[in-house]
């Protein structure tokens, strides 16, 4: 016990020296403050971006495979005028693959009117399976029914935001039975979809409009091809083999032999997450490395100031040795000084970083998630830097011969 108390007293001497020379202490701390603050901010933004991505990916669905008409490597809304994906493809998939198969056609920027309100939105023509494949159901009225498809019914299901855009009301139940005009054809509103947020690419799911697939193809879009097939699987472990199976099937049906380019693309959540993250993760890693670099530079500055300080305080070291400080006591005092500097720098840098994060989170749209991890990392880094860059000066101080030091 007395040994620990003694160590604490000696560490206290180090802290006292820091307090006695505040400007020098500030210079020793500056690098740590900047590095730790940067670390906290960057990691919080990185986490914010990641959360945004994961939210979008979960909006897309984690247990689905999406077949999109048109080739290309990027995940994007289907391109206009690609006619290669057909209902027969969906039927063929349905025959081979277990799961909910939902073919649909998407058309963007379709004019939709109700009374005097008009808007441009994305219209989706789908089958009743659409609801199950997307896990996306009505909160008011009825979903699409098989009968609607069979009879080419002019009915529609509205995304939640469309209710407000077209009818100027928040009350979803009040619009059931009302009419909207899609490309100047009257459709009866039979249901309103629950809120779903944003697509992985940042579009609004909730301003979409759903009509029966048959009605869409023949009456509204006037086309005989579809744009997507969404397959919901029971077991997410099946995503990869099933994707490969579908790819092979479509190759065969579309008479494509690699290396010929595909006229379709297949995605699942993993690929979409990768793309939605884009460069953000690489950038985050790079920036964290940069914060690490500033910590390193700060550490070198700290070491140099400590070395100078050892030189300036030779007499003090000699005196301490004379009144009973052993080599280890001197070593520990300077090490404690270094650790105190980085620890205090860590506290200041963390507070500063946290402040910036809170302000950015409140007043800007920068995605931001404040969590404990960057702070834990900051503590670890501060101790490491303090130890690593403090050891050399402390050793130099402890190796001074008391007689030489007192001279």
């Amino acid at each position: 016990m007395s040994c620990i108390a003694r160590c604490m007293r000696i560490a206290g001497e180090g802290v006292r020296a820091l307090l006695a020379n505040k400007l020098r202490t500030f210079f020793m701390m500056a690098g740590t403050i900047a590095g730790i603050a940067a670390l906290i901010i960057i990691m919080s933004i990185g986490k914010g971006v990641e959360k945004k991505v994961m939210k979008r990916v979960s909006g897309f669905g984690t247990d689905v495979i999406m077949v999109t008409a048109g080739g290309g490597k990027g995940f994007s809304p289907p391109q206009e005028g690609i006619t290669t994906l057909r209902m027969e493809d969906a039927e063929a998939i349905r025959a081979q693959v277990q799961g909910v198969i939902a073919p649909f056609a998407v058309k963007r920027d379709v004019a939709v009117k109700s009374g005097s309100s008009q808007t441009q939105t994305t219209v989706v023509a789908g089958e009743p399976s659409f609801h199950e494949a997307w896990g996306w159901y009505t909160i008011e009225g009825d979903p699409l029914a098989a009968e609607d498809v069979a009879t080419l019914a002019r009915v529609c299901v509205l995304g939640k935001n469309l209710v407000k855009d077209l009818f100027g009301t928040e009350n979803a139940s009040s619009v059931i039975g009302e009419y909207v005009q899609i490309n100047n054809i009257r459709f009866k509103v039979k249901g309103v979809l629950e809120s779903r947020g944003q697509t992985p690419m940042g579009d609004d799911f909730d301003s979409r409009l759903l009509i029966p697939l048959s009605t869409g193809l023949r009456r509204t879009f006037n086309q005989d091809y579809i744009t997507n097939i969404r397959i919901k699987v029971k077991d997410t472990g099946q995503l990869v083999p099933m994707g490969n199976q579908i790819r092979e099937l479509l190759h065969e049906r579309h008479h494509i032999t690699p290396p010929q380019e595909d006229d379709f693309a297949i995605f699942s959540a993993a690929e979409i997450a990768k793309m939605a993250r884009g460069v953000s993760r690489t950038l985050t890693i790079l920036l964290i490395a940069l914060a690490g670099l500033s910590l390193l530079v700060g550490g070198v500055v700290l070491m140099n100031i400590l070395l100078i300080s050892v030189g300036e305080r030779t007499k003090e070291i000699g005196l301490r040795r004379a009144v009973g400080a052993g080599r280890r006591d001197i070593l520990w005092q300077f090490l404690a000084e270094s650790l105190a500097v980085t620890f205090l720098g860590m506290l200041l840098g963390s507070s500063f970083g946290l402040g910036v994060c809170l302000i950015l989170g409140k007043f800007t749209k920068v995605p931001m998630v404040v969590s404990w991890e960057p702070f834990a990392l900051a503590i670890a880094f501060a101790c490491l830097v303090g130890l690593f860059f403090g050891v050399q000066p402390a050793r130099r101080a402890s190796r001074l011969h008391p007689v030489e030091a007192l001279r």
Binding site: R6, L319, R321, V323, A325, G326, R327, V403
Partner: protein, 244 residues
């Protein structure tokens, strides 16, 4: 009790070796007041460092209360200095930007046991050297004599048996020097062992015994028949001032 037995010290610098101490032997009993004299370069500082356990002899034995310090490691020597020896230096060696009180408390930091009443002890030590009204002053705010008295209070705080003083009056005017000598006299009366290195005959005459070094050897070792009384000379100075 201090026993030196044929102590030698040799410094090697490159190809040149210099033997500073060439075989020093003496005994100092507990409670003795001894001055070590010699012109500069005669090895008195080296001897002082060895006596203070700051340095080890090249050969020979140094027993402090029967313990041969030659065999001790850094940690044990440091503890020995802390417990048994109080240093007083020519340049005072006080920590600047640090109050007299904290300067006096410094040795306690390194003690095995930190007394609960450390601050009171330090205050008492400062009182004993006549500085009870300078407790919170920093060295820069004190005169040389006052600084040296703070240093003496620091040397006394662990209640050591031995006071080692290296030219304690070297940086002081006559009056301040005499005040220091008066304190040493008092310490001597309370049975501290005092060893004082000086080149000044007048200062050395305050001690009971003078050991003179010459070329690394003891030239002579004698008792002082009637040691100077610093009080007398201080009185003289006061009278002189009174007459002005």
């Amino acid at each position: 009790m201090i026993e030196l037995d044929n102590i030698t010290k040799t410094y090697t610098k490159g190809a040149v070796t210099t033997q500073v101490l060439k075989g020093i032997s003496f005994r100092i009993e507990a409670g003795e007041y001894t001055a070590i004299m010699g012109t500069s370069g005669t090895g008195k500082s080296t001897l002082m460092n060895i006596l203070g356990c700051l340095d080890k002899p090249t050969a020979g034995h140094y027993r402090l209360d029967g313990i041969d310090m030659v065999n001790l490691d850094d940690k044990a020597l440091s503890q020995l200095r802390n417990r048994k020896i109080g240093f007083v230096f020519q340049q005072f060696h006080l920590l600047d930007r640090t109050t007299a009180l904290r300067n006096v408390m410094l040795p306690l930091i390194y003690a095995d046991r930190y007394p609960n009443d450390a601050e009171d002890l330090a205050k008492k030590a400062l009182e004993a050297v006549g500085l009870s009204d300078r407790i919170m002053h920093r060295p820069g705010e004190l005169s040389g004599g006052q600084q040296q008295r703070v240093a003496i209070a620091r040397a006394l705080i662990t209640d050591p048996e031995i006071i080692l003083a290296d030219e304690p009056t070297g940086n002081l005017d006559e009056r301040s020097g005499l005040e220091i000598m008066a304190i040493f006299k008092r310490l001597h009366r309370s049975h501290k062992t005092i060893i004082m290195v000086t080149h000044d005959q007048k200062v050395a005459e305050h001690a009971d015994r003078i050991i003179v070094l010459k070329d690394g050897l003891i030239a002579f070792d004698r008792k002082v028949a009637t040691p100077h009384k610093p009080e007398n000379r201080l009185q003289e100075l006061a009278d002189k001032e009174g007459r002005k």
